[in-house]
């Protein structure tokens, strides 16, 4: 049975950074990844990564405190301020480190890392590499992983976390190419499995972002936090929902309705198109609902006035995507855009060192909730979170492993391995008659329709009932393909019940939170209600579904104020 002092599940930016840090601490770390690390969703990030480098002329007065303050306001005061301060304090160091490793950031005329404005920020703070920042950073970290010989298990799908004597022992995983199931023993396990975008019908996320990593932790007794906060990105390509970066607006793009009006002046006169994402997304939906969209389905993102040169230099990836996937060259025509699910603010409850309440289990990146994004994440802060908290989780896991804090025990792992193998055989041979595609489609519809951009009690109740019904149906899932080799059908059947549990935590949290804050907007409670809801939501899994409890928000410097853009 393979043993690794630190085992990271997920090979995106957070996972790679965590594994590298463990190596730097002199502790062996391995990465277990559903796909080759370069196929991770981190690579799709476009616009950039925030750090108060103060490289741009207009940003020369920027500081970690400004960055922290704007992040807190952006979060609608739900972020833990100590965590936010830790993130912005370490931001510059992490960015310089990436640059030293070869990340090809765009440059100012003086040769420094270039920075652009992003939503919710008063300064140009978003360090960018054209509009392919995630791609470049992911490659840079993978290059370092090769250099430091981090062991990567490629195309291994984690099937279960093994918990015994109150602590995590390791992971049972399925090797897709061979169909073999194996147990991995570990001193500490770090979850870095990304977000749960594919719980929704419309999402900018990669197809692999099923949210199953969250289910693994949740199923094993780790609580999920703030799951009701789901970011909807205002500008995804109409139809395919491929992301069109906020950088397009950061560079000066306009949003236009069918009357040719820059409608954001009605909703956020000061920040206009660069108001935070939750506000812009709701504004677009309002325009559509009031009949000022195109085909009732999209608005336009107009870049033409930026000119060909600027588009080619700063937004080449956006242009390529618009041409390939919408048949529109933004130099000549506006891009049709619509809001879509984009980011999971909630996640596995953890502290700034990535530690979850379940001993031996850590988390970092989008699957984690530290929380630095609170009720709404600012653009450019997600890439930052991956490297800052990836580093911290890697360091803490290494410390724990070195101290032998958690002794891994083969007995429970062998038992869990047998259980997984039997579970797979039972799934294949069972007499179920449900296929994963139709249940999943219904789940995505239920989430989009009931737990979307605008929410209210009745719709949320309906969504929960639908999800519970689907959970019943999911008991009768059966893969149509019974082979071992690359059986994706089997994996989809395995993951779906867990996805439904996570979906219920999102919907239940949204029903419980009778206020509007950040991305969570209740038509029946349109105001923020600090007296009742200035707290995090913890969801614990019980046989009856999620059990919720509040947790205090850490407020160190900035008492809640009205959020206005």
């Amino acid at each position: 049975m393979p043993y690794h002092p630190v085992l990271v599940v997920g090979g995106g930016l957070a996972g790679l950074r965590a594994a590298l840090e463990a190596r730097f601490q002199g502790v062996e770390a391995a990465v277990l990844s559903l796909v080759h690390p370069l196929r991770s969703h981190s690579g799709a990030a476009q616009g950039g990564v925030n750090a108060p480098l103060a490289n741009a002329e207009e940003g020369k007065d920027d500081t970690p405190e400004r960055h922290a303050y704007e992040t807190v306001v952006g979060s609608d005061f739900l972020a833990d301020q100590d965590a936010v301060e830790a993130m912005t304090r370490e931001a510059s160091e992490r960015i310089f480190e990436l640059e030293h490793w070869g990340a090809p950031f765009s440059r100012t005329p003086q040769g420094k890392i270039a920075q652009r404005p992003f939503g919710g920020g008063a300064f140009p703070r978003t360090c960018y590499a054209a509009d392919r920042t995630g791609h470049y950073l992911l490659h840079t970290l993978y290059e370092q992983a090769l250099k430091y010989r981090v062991k990567v298990y490629v195309e291994w799908a984690a099937l279960s976390l093994v918990v015994a004597q109150g602590q995590v022992q390791g992971v049972v995983a399925l090797h897709l190419p061979s169909g073999e199931v194996e147990a991995f023993s570990a001193g500490a396990v770090i979850m870095a499995t990304g977000g749960a975008g594919r719980l929704y019908l419309k999402s900018t996320n990669a197809l692999i972002n099923t949210g199953y990593g969250l289910a693994l932790a949740y199923n094993s007794g780790a609580p999920l936090k703030d799951m009701e906060f789901v970011q909807f990105h205002p500008t995804s390509l109409h139809g395919s929902n491929i992301l069109i970066s906020e950088a397009a607006r950061g560079e000066g793009g306009y949003l236009l309705n069918s009357q040719g009006e820059r409608f954001m002046q009605k909703y956020a006169p000061r920040f206009m198109e660069l108001a935070p994402r939750d506000i812009v997304a709701r504004s677009i939906i309002t325009e559509l609902k009031e009949g000022r969209g195109f085909d009732g389905a999209y608005v336009l993102l107009d870049l033409r006035h930026l000119g060909a040169e600027r588009i080619l230099e700063r937004l080449p990836g956006i242009r390529e995507l618009a041409i390939s996937f919408a048949g529109v060259d933004p130099i000549e025509k506006p891009i049709p855009v619509e809001p879509a699910q984009h980011y999971t603010m909630g996640g596995i409850d953890c502290n700034i060192w990535g530690e979850s309440p379940l001993p031996g289990l850590l988390a970092c990146g989008e699957c984690a909730c530290v929380s630095v994004h609170g009720a709404n994440r600012l653009g450019g802060n997600s890439l930052l979170e991956t490297v800052v908290f990836g580093q911290k989780a890697g360091r803490r896991a290494a410390e724990l492993a070195r101290a032998g804090a958690f002794t891994s025990n083969d007995g429970p792992l062998k038992k869990a391995l047998e259980k997984a193998r039997t579970g797979i055989e039972e799934l294949k041979r069972g007499n179920g008659n449900e296929d994963p595609a139709s249940i999943r489609e219904e789940m995505r519809r239920a989430m989009w329709e009931g737990v979307g951009i605008f929410r209210e009690k009745e719709g949320l109740g309906r969504a929960i009932a639908r999800l519970q019904g689907l959970r019943e149906r999911a008991r009768r899932l059966r893969p149509a393909h019974s082979g071992k080799i690359f059986n994706q059908d089997l994996l989809r059947c395995w993951e779906l019940p867990g996805q439904l549990l996570v979906a219920e935590a999102v919907a239940g949290g949204a029903l419980r939170r009778e206020e509007s804050r950040g991305s969570h907007f209740r038509l029946d409670f349109p105001q923020r209600d600090d007296a009742r809801f200035l707290h995090h939501t913890l969801a614990h899994l019980t046989p009856e579904g999620p059990r919720f409890e509040p947790r205090e928000v850490a407020i160190t410097r900035w008492p809640p104020e009205v959020r206005k853009y």
């Binding site: 796909v35 310089f96 005329p109 470049y136 395919s240 595609a437 393909h481 082979g483």
Partner: protein, 241 residues
């Protein structure tokens, strides 16, 4: 754009399951093109509604992750980047050529990945880093514009006749990666890395067939990068890096 209900397209899809035994064969699947539908979406549709056993790799569906490279009408392409409206008649869908098939459209990429590890695929620095960023002029950064965009999809590798002839050849993608660092004003590993590519299985195996240029979904020109590496090797201008 194809309207709903417009002509049904037939995908003729390569099938092979080593477990089941039997020779490789093709299955035909009808697909109703919806506006804006990609070939990857069509394959997903097939796997969801017609034949859940169909295996193919996917992740981003936005041409940035490189998972879904396959042979489409005989040409290596990304399935997600291929629009159904651009296809006609019976569409041949097969795995990337010349790579061992794991099942259906999924090929063994390990050998391809290992080629990268032979060229020290990371920035090499000998001087300790400054406190802030290393400076790089915009004109120096522009040299990385195209060459750092590679998504490791393997389309160039699968289409290269020299790779086919000898598996020890580094191939266009790994050589492009070597050039990406050679072209980086911050890199201090020029001589060392150049030694790794200045050999028969390195740059000198490239006969400028240009298949790589033709198939690259990111419009990168690996052949030009290889030619540039050849020049560097020939003129030994290491110190100018």
């Amino acid at each position: 754009m194809a309207a709903r209900g417009e002509k049904i397209l037939t995908l003729k899809v390569f099938r092979f399951d080593p477990e089941a035994g039997g020779p490789p064969h093709y299955d035909r699947f009808p697909v109703e093109p919806m506006p804006g539908m990609s070939l990857l979406e069509a394959l997903t549709e097939i796997a969801e509604r017609q034949d859940p056993s169909l295996a193919f790799r996917y992740s981003c569906r936005g041409a940035v992750c490189g998972s879904c490279a396959m042979s489409i009408q005989g040409r290596p392409r990304l399935a997600c980047q291929t629009q159904l409206k651009d296809l006609r008649g019976e569409v041949l869908v097969a795995p990337l050529p010349h790579l061992p098939v794991i099942r259906d459209l999924v090929v063994e990429m390990e050998h391809f990945y290992q080629r990268f590890e032979e060229i020290m695929p990371y920035l090499i620095r000998r001087t300790p880093p400054p406190e802030r960023e290393l400076l790089q002029a915009p004109r120096e950064r522009r040299l990385l514009d195209e060459v750092a965009d590679c998504i490791w999809c393997g389309a160039c590798y699968a289409s290269c006749p020299l790779v086919r002839q000898g598996p020890s050849y580094l191939g266009p993608a790994a050589l492009l990666q070597a050039y990406r660092f050679a072209a980086d004003s911050r890199d201090e590993g020029g001589r060392e890395r150049l030694r790794l590519v200045d050999r028969e299985e390195g740059v000198w195996r490239c006969h400028t067939v240009f298949n790589c240029v033709e198939v690259c979904p990111k419009k990168i020109n690996p052949a030009r990068a290889i030619q540039a590496l050849k020049r560097k090797a020939l003129f030994g201008r290491f110190k100018l890096w």
